[in-house]
Assembly symmetry: D2
Homo-oligomer: 135 residues x 4
């Protein structure tokens, strides 16, 4: 498996009147987590799109174990559990500064050819880069 940590500071915009980070904002954290995990491998989602490949999200699961609070510097641990094919599944674990697990999530994304609007295989060089983590 391949795993990568990213930090995220909870801002006021993220909070709600329960003094929690609003549950809908974790999707943004997951996005940041997976994009930075790809970047750390040498790939950018922006470059994928420019090369004609989109990655829409197919499904999302999220468990809210403890609230994230304003101004906490969270750690988003993003993991690719299996080698992707047409789809790629990411796992996310969000920890606070005391290393308490606040949230656990999963998303499945699909590689789509922008021209045909059909699913396609993950870019070959991206697969090669991931393979070294799955031996």
């Amino acid at each position: 498996m391949y795993t990568h940590p990213t930090t995220y500071r909870v801002c006021y915009a993220d909070t709600d009147q329960m003094q929690y980070m609003y549950y809908g904002n974790y999707a943004r954290l997951y996005e940041i987590g997976r994009v930075e995990a790809m970047r750390a491998l040498g790939f950018s989602y922006r470059a994928f799109e420019e090369a004609g490949i989109m990655m829409p999200v197919l499904d999302l699961q999220s468990k809210f174990l403890q609230p994230a609070r304003y101004d906490e510097l969270l750690q988003i641990q993003t993991t690719v559990l299996e080698l992707p094919s047409v789809r790629i599944k990411f796992k996310y674990e969000v920890f606070n500064e005391q290393n308490v697990l606040l949230n656990e999530g999963f998303t499945t994304l699909v590689f789509v050819n922008k021209q045909t609007n059909k699913p396609c295989k993950a870019p070959a060089d991206f697969l090669v880069a991931l393979q070294s983590f799955f031996k």
Copy 2:
């Protein structure tokens, strides 16, 4: 079961550069769906909070079947599948103007006493109002 429809107009703020409604914004639609479903029964989440009961979200699942597009007037069909106890589970189905199912989601929320910060039973009058739908 108890089910209630609400409409939601996709605004520019909701879109992303894929020309889809951003996947993180469905959580907002679910929130609007369940709050309006409660209001249609005669209950307001604001009044619950004022009476000392919070309803944080415990988990979320979402399937993105088709993209929602800018300016579409979506229908959010919100359903309570079982009588709640300490927890309440909502199902959401999001349809576009052509009645195509775009998204399906579930959330579990827990009733929490603000004073003790402990889980508590759903308010009795809310349960009574729901019971007539579960015979």
Copy 3:
């Protein structure tokens, strides 16, 4: 001048831990206000974009007089103060249910030809529709 009212229900996603609607969310309300003001005249911003005209925002001013609170049904009063040419200026007034003015804002948008990426005149039929309000 041309003026049009729209309602907006403050949702939990909009609130922050100060128990106010977050100051950044008024831009969304302004967007909804101007789009609905255009729709009431028979025009849709979606149709403008499909016809090759974008309307990016050039500037924004906002005064936060009183906080908007969770679950309030706000009224957004949107006004076109002058006939547009290449630019169009909107004024927004946001009122709560007690008709208290909470917020006042202005935005200037520019009509842009998507092909050339250059400013262009407002669509002729839109101007005609507005002219009847400026006599």
Copy 4:
């Protein structure tokens, strides 16, 4: 004057279907800019709130000169132009990676005593820290 730079990576959640960062999201950037400017001086807005001082926003001005694009690493330059009293005014300049000025903004915030809900003076130690930049 006191000035401080912060970086911000534009995420997909920030974009809209015009392929710009949505105009409403600059308020979040301004928030991040001013909070990090305060942190660099040794002060945290979280600590202010915990000590009973809120800082709601009174007004906002923004000029959108060039669009911010997906995945750009923006620089937010935040400046305090004058020593604050009961109010504090921040200026923001947002630059892209090519150092092009994309956006310029201003916000005025007011120090409010949470107990009395009345405006109050800026905390004395915060003023002392700022004074060294205004000689």
